[in-house]
Amino acid sequence: MVFSFELLQEAVLFGVLLGCFYAAVSIGLSVSFGLLDVPHVAHPAIMVFGSYCTYLLGLYGFDPIVAGIVLMPAFFLLGVGVYRFYYEAFEKRGSEAGVRGIAFFFGLALIVEVGLILAFGVDQRTVEADYIGKSLSLGEMRIPLRMLVAFGVALVLMLALMLYLSKTFTGRAIKAVAQDEPALRLMGADPVRIKQWAFGIATGVSALAGALLIIIGPVEPGMDRVYIGRTFAVVVLAGLGSMTGTLAAGLILGISESIVLMHFGASWAPAVAFGLLLIVLGIRPQGLFGR
């Protein structure tokens, strides 16, 4: 391996870009699993579904980012429907049934994957945009534009969600339902409706995350398996439900992976990233920003 300060700088830069992308693909899960305690293992599958919808809109000339934004309302409604079913079938029947709901989400992920295979086949799908396949040159350094775009969109997405959760009434209600559901009920709010709304937001965000996924690289129906470990790791490392933590955790994973990969070997990258997760959880079981 070649060691130099210049390479280290580039590794950190690539890590920041990758980390923001990791945070963006995890933020929906941070709401659904982190705030609502819903074992949403189908989150990456929904995201891949978002990628395919982005691909379809791309065939009609939509830019992937625009397509992701256009898809958000439809995915919001999908999320509302999915949560309602989960609530009626599992959560309503007590916490044990809620945990059993994990099987429901595994099933949902499988249905999404098989559905995509039947509709699109198993081949990879890509989208086209001016910023895909090109790079920005800064002296010797070349930064892929697709990563920069994903970085920018991820930051805006997270900032918007953070503001929504802290500055709006519904946003604060979502945070409240995560902290003390009975108290929220006593205040006259319906926790189920709030959770339904929040799950809708989480799923809507997944549409845009799916657009980022297909911008970063080609997708195929089984791609959710690549992201299931990483997204849960980011959310747990962040501290369940913390949006700032999600960004920080994504950056930690991205930068550590990138530095280890550049200087010590790619095979060590996931081991170091997940090792960090274990160390942080050993010291702070509630995660970096968890209470």
């Binding site: 391996m1 070649v2 130099s4 390479l7 580039e10 590794a11 690539f14 890590g15 990758l18 992308f21 994957e113 098989v114 295979i117 699109f120 086949g121 198993v122 081949d123 990879q124 890509t126 895909i132 396949g133 090109k134 790079s135 070349r142 892929p144 534009l145 697709r146 990563m147 970063i216 690289g217 080609p218 195929e220 129906p221 089984g222 791609m223 690549v226 470990g229 990483r230 990138s258 990969l261 550049m262 070997g265 790619a266 095979s267 990258a269 996931p270």
Partner: protein, 406 residues
């Protein structure tokens, strides 16, 4: 009376054949997951052979039936699938799943039960098992057969150093080890050697690392998803002016949807292949033309140069061996396959004692003049110029890599 007894005899024979049921050929095939695209295309070809052989009246007077389960490119599933095929479905013949990783776990099973297994583009899975009833359909044999052409062409260009980038999986590692040995023998200095985990999302950092190492040639051993990401990262980051040749063992760059999506980004890459347009074998063009029609309906690789002809060849080899020996006995069939030349649409095949091809025929070809958004261009000879082996050669390698891509 005589006629009556003859008719009765014929009816009885027909009934006996019907009672025997079809000859069942069983396999698992990746139809989802990383190798799913290749696996589904290969299945189309195998089903074509089943249709063809049944159209010719079947084998030993019995129809042929293919039973194929999806192994999801998951090696953990294949032993259970093959146990089911043997013990519940009671298949007569076996074909291995496409790929090294799903095949490796079933090798102990077939050896223990002493069964004939037709391999399906796996790499060196029988090296340590040493099963005498293993016959691979792939045009490579030992580790050097794959990378030999790449290294030799690099030497012709005066390369002195090499970088390796390989997936951390059995297939890629076997291949990488073979290439490393050949590179060492050729006196090439290894300036970068990286194994990456299968779930790697972005390769920008690795490509930057390669550029910093300034190698003369870069040998890559990757799976389809990774290959696409690597080619994109190379296009964005660049591998530097020192690199004369790039490619070698990238799986996926043989699949039409991937070639079509990468388009001009492929230019200059030298990569292995099993067949490229222009190579002449009896029956292959007719097969490819029939396959192309079925592929559209099956939503699989529309050209099907890489895997489908070699899967059809598996069927042809079974057909030839069963017709010649009039037997389904695995030992009898294996003896025949060992001793005789098999005539297939991918050319004549003779097997060595290890069940791999006696004479390897891995093609190293360079992508040239590829434009974006044109699938049909890949049907033309000359878009992939054959550099190796010499008897199929259609041109010399062009270098340096970055310059010829412009």
């Amino acid at each position: 009376m005589k006629i009556l007894s003859l008719v009765a005899g014929l009816l009885f024979s027909a009934l006996a054949l019907a009672q025997q049921g079809p000859i069942k050929v069983g396999m698992s095939m990746p139809q989802t997951g990383t190798l799913g695209a290749g696996g589904k295309a290969a299945l189309v070809a195998l089903n074509m052979w089943v249709e063809d052989v049944n159209g010719r009246g079947g084998l030993l007077g019995r129809k042929v039936e293919l039973i194929a389960y999806d192994d999801q490119t998951n090696p953990a599933l294949t032993p259970a699938i093959y146990t089911k095929l043997l013990d519940i479905d009671k298949v007569d013949l076996l074909i291995a799943p496409y790929g090294t990783v799903p095949t490796a776990p079933i090798m102990p099973l077939v050896k223990q039960r002493d069964l004939l297994l037709m391999g399906n583009f796996s790499f060196q899975v029988n090296r340590t098992v040493k099963h005498d009833k293993w016959f691979n359909n792939s045009p490579w044999n030992d580790a050097s057969s794959w990378s030999d052409g790449f290294i030799k062409n690099g030497q012709k260009l005066g390369a002195k150093s090499i970088a390796f980038l390989a997936a951390d999986q059995e297939f890629a590692q076997n291949l990488a080890n073979g290439a490393r040995v050949l590179a060492k023998k050729a006196g090439l200095k290894t300036v970068y050697d990286q194994n990456y985990p299968p779930a790697t999302v972005d390769f920008s950092t690795m490509i930057r690392g390669i550029r910093a190492a300034k190698p003369d040639m870069v040998f890559v051993m990757s799976y389809p998803n990774d290959s696409v990401a690597i080619v994109r990262a190379v296009n964005e980051i660049g591998v530097g002016e020192s690199v004369k040749m790039f490619g070698g063992g990238m799986v996926g760059l043989q699949f039409t949807p991937i070639m079509a999506s990468l388009g001009s980004m492929l230019n200059g890459i030298v990569n292995y292949n099993s067949y490229v347009p222009g190579m002449k074998y009896p029956g292959i063009e007719e097969f490819l033309s029939r396959y192309a029609k079925k592929a559209v309906a099956a939503k699989v690789d529309p050209l099907g140069f890489y895997l489908p002809p070699f899967n059809y060849a598996i069927g042809q080899m079974y057909e030839q061996a069963i017709k010649a020996t009039k037997s389904l006995n695995h030992k009898v069939l294996a003896d025949y396959l060992h001793k005789n030349e098999m005539k297939t649409i991918v050319g004549p095949i003779r097997y060595g004692p290890d069940g791999e091809w006696k004479n390897a025929r891995v093609v190293q070809a360079q992508f040239r003049g590829i434009v974006d958004k044109d699938v049909d261009q890949f049907r033309q000879p000359g878009k992939q110029v054959v550099l190796y082996p010499d008897r199929y050669k259609t041109g010399n390698v062009m270098a340096p890599f970055e310059k010829i891509r412009k």
